[in-house]
């Protein structure tokens, strides 16, 4: 075991996560399913209980003190999120239920209004179902056509092929920033500039990015970007859609209801301004407020420090697991986030997952909601270990030992 990070006190960080100190099946929990959802620090949990114990009320129209406090806290998260991803203004931050909700919002509120039969949408072969199905629905509604940018065997998008798909018919490009299955970090800034050259708008699925890497939407110059709170140490049920003001303003509302209106008569309704135009109904106030604590948690440690630690985990994990009998890595892209997807020859991922769970080790097994990618790679599924800032080298050792034991039984 080696410890290369001097600046991060991982033990102190672990103390912030109550869930990590438990035993699972009689063994200390090793949580390696962070790409599915991360655990939550005390500050996030406390923000939720604090809100319900002290400030609970409906926001924006209440004139009493509690409503004022809740509104201020809710809007505080918006302002912090704006700075977190370097958006130009806080009105460009729309709170959603999560990444999936954000993609559906754009596909319906932008796509249905601006796409016509024969227009084209480009996604890649490594997309999560949430960045495939909303576009298929849109194609069904408009007659637009879905085009798929292929990947190579390592798990990188083949840029020349991507460029070849771009034509004057291309209206939307929607690409995952970091693949949940392969860990590939896609060159989204470059892809965005290529999309723009063809006259298309660029949407970025950043669900896997926020806990690991700094996002700068101005630098990327993407038109839309979506992510979820729960993958970045925040609560479930809250996510963010960033969109450029010029685009958000010309889109129709996604849902109708309270909050999103300006003036309602039975004859005609005028809509509120952005971001409220897209936040119909009482929003997820508590979780939005707690999301602020998740962002602060990340900022307090610093993306650079998190990334350095996770890169060490990735490097050590890859080295160690590569020594296993029958180890087959899935996804060996040039730029990778802290995800190790793999198979062990002759053992089904499901069996590995069950046996690791019996040893207190939580990994993900299966197709990871990327069935077309599994088809492309001609595999049924993988075992996926994905790391967060609170994971340790010693936990990787436990994973390796666990796998050795399982392999021995099956050989």
């Amino acid at each position: 075991m080696n410890n290369t990070i001097a600046t991060l006190n991982i033990e102190a960080i672990r103390e912030e996560f109550p869930v990590l100190s438990q035993q699972v099946n009689g063994k200390p929990l090793v949580y390696f399913d962070n790409a599915a959802t991360s655990q939550k620090p005390k500050s996030v949990i406390n923000a939720l209980t604090h809100y319900y114990e002290n400030d609970n009320s409906n926001i924006h129209r209440g004139i009493h003190t509690l409503a004022e406090r809740a509104t201020a806290d809710y809007e505080d998260t918006r302002a912090l999120t704006q700075r977190f991803i370097n958006a130009g203004e806080k009105e460009e931050i729309i709170f959603t239920k999560g990444t999936t909700d954000g993609i559906n919002l754009v596909s319906q509120a932008y796509g249905r209004k601006f796409l016509n039969a024969g227009d084209e949408i480009i996604i890649s072969e490594m997309e999560h179902h949430s960045n495939i199905v909303p576009w298929q629905l849109l194609c069904g509604q408009t007659g637009a056509v879905l085009k798929i940018a292929p990947i190579d065997d390592q798990g990188d998008i083949i840029i020349e092929e991507f460029e070849g798909l771009l034509t004057e018919k291309t209206k939307i490009v929607s690409i995952v920033y970091i693949s949940n299955t392969l860990g590939t970090i896609n060159p989204v800034k470059h892809l965005t500039s290529l999309a723009h050259k063809a006259g298309a708008i660029m949407m970025v699925d950043a669900a896997q990015v926020t806990p690991h890497e700094k996002i700068d939407v101005k630098d990327l110059n993407c038109d839309f970007l979506v992510f979820s709170g729960h993958k970045m140490y925040g609560p479930t049920g809250v996510g963010v859609l960033y969109g450029k003001r010029s685009l958000l303003e010309k889109m129709d509302p996604y849902q109708g209801g309270g909050e999103m209106i300006n003036d309602v008569t039975f004859e005609k309704t005028t809509y509120n301004d952005i971001p409220y135009k897209f936040e119909a109904g009482t929003p997820n106030i508590a979780d939005v407020i707690a999301l602020k604590e998740a962002i602060l948690f990340i900022q307090n440690i610093g993306h650079d420090n998190i990334q350095a630690h996770e890169n060490d985990l990735l490097k050590y994990g890859t080295e160690q697991l590569s020594k296993l009998d029958g180890f087959i890595p899935v996804g060996t892209a040039k730029q990778k986030a802290s995800v190790i997807s793999f198979n062990i020859e002759g053992i089904h991922p499901f069996d590995i997952g069950m046996l690791l769970d019996a040893k207190g080790i939580a990994v993900r097994t299966g197709h990871h909601c990327t069935q077309p990618l599994m088809n492309r790679l001609q595999i049924e599924g993988t075992v996926r270990a994905s790391f967060a800032v609170y994971n340790t080298m010693a936990e990787i050792d436990r994973l390796k030992e666990g796998l050795e034991d399982i392999i021995k039984k099956f050989r």
Binding site: H348, F350, D351, L355
Partner: protein, 146 residues
């Protein structure tokens, strides 16, 4: 005379109680008993014989001889193969009527939900359902032949 459905289930409960709730021992035991199951006939591994509703692939076929059903099954995963082998052991050598009418109580008694999880319990339920469908089909055939 074959062992009653109740007795086979009680044997299984007894065997699992010896594992003292140790998850690793339980899963390894399930894999072991799956290994010992008679292999499924190669030509029974068809699309038609796949049990729907299971996360892993499960193939199942059944024959009736002397009024009793014999089940055969297989799976692409070792744990699921073990799980289905328990059901094959419980429900084989039974009459269609016994399979349809008698209580299948062993999953609850051994705490199946706890160690295979809710989602896979649904898959386990699908296997039982499929076996009951076989029993129903054989029972209907018997009635129409009578």
């Amino acid at each position: 005379m074959s062992e009653s459905l109740k007795n086979v289930q009680e044997d299984i409960i007894e065997e699992f109680s010896m594992l003292e709730g140790d998850m690793e021992m339980i899963i390894n035991y399930i894999i072991e008993i799956g290994d010992q199951m008679d292999p499924l006939d190669e030509n029974a591994r068809t699309e038609d014989n796949i049990v729907k509703g299971c996360q892993s692939k499960v193939w199942m076929s059944a024959q009736i001889a002397d009024g009793k059903i014999q089940f055969q099954a297989d799976s692409n995963t070792a744990v699921t193969k073990g799980l289905v082998s328990i059901l094959v052991r419980v429900l084989s050598n039974q009459t269609p009527e016994a399979i349809l009418n008698e209580d299948i109580f062993f999953p609850e008694k051994i705490g199946m939900n706890r160690f295979i999880g809710t989602q896979r319990s649904n898959g386990f339920g699908s296997m039982i359902k499929q076996m009951k469908i076989y029993a129903l089909a054989f029972s209907a055939k018997k009635t129409s032949n009578a």
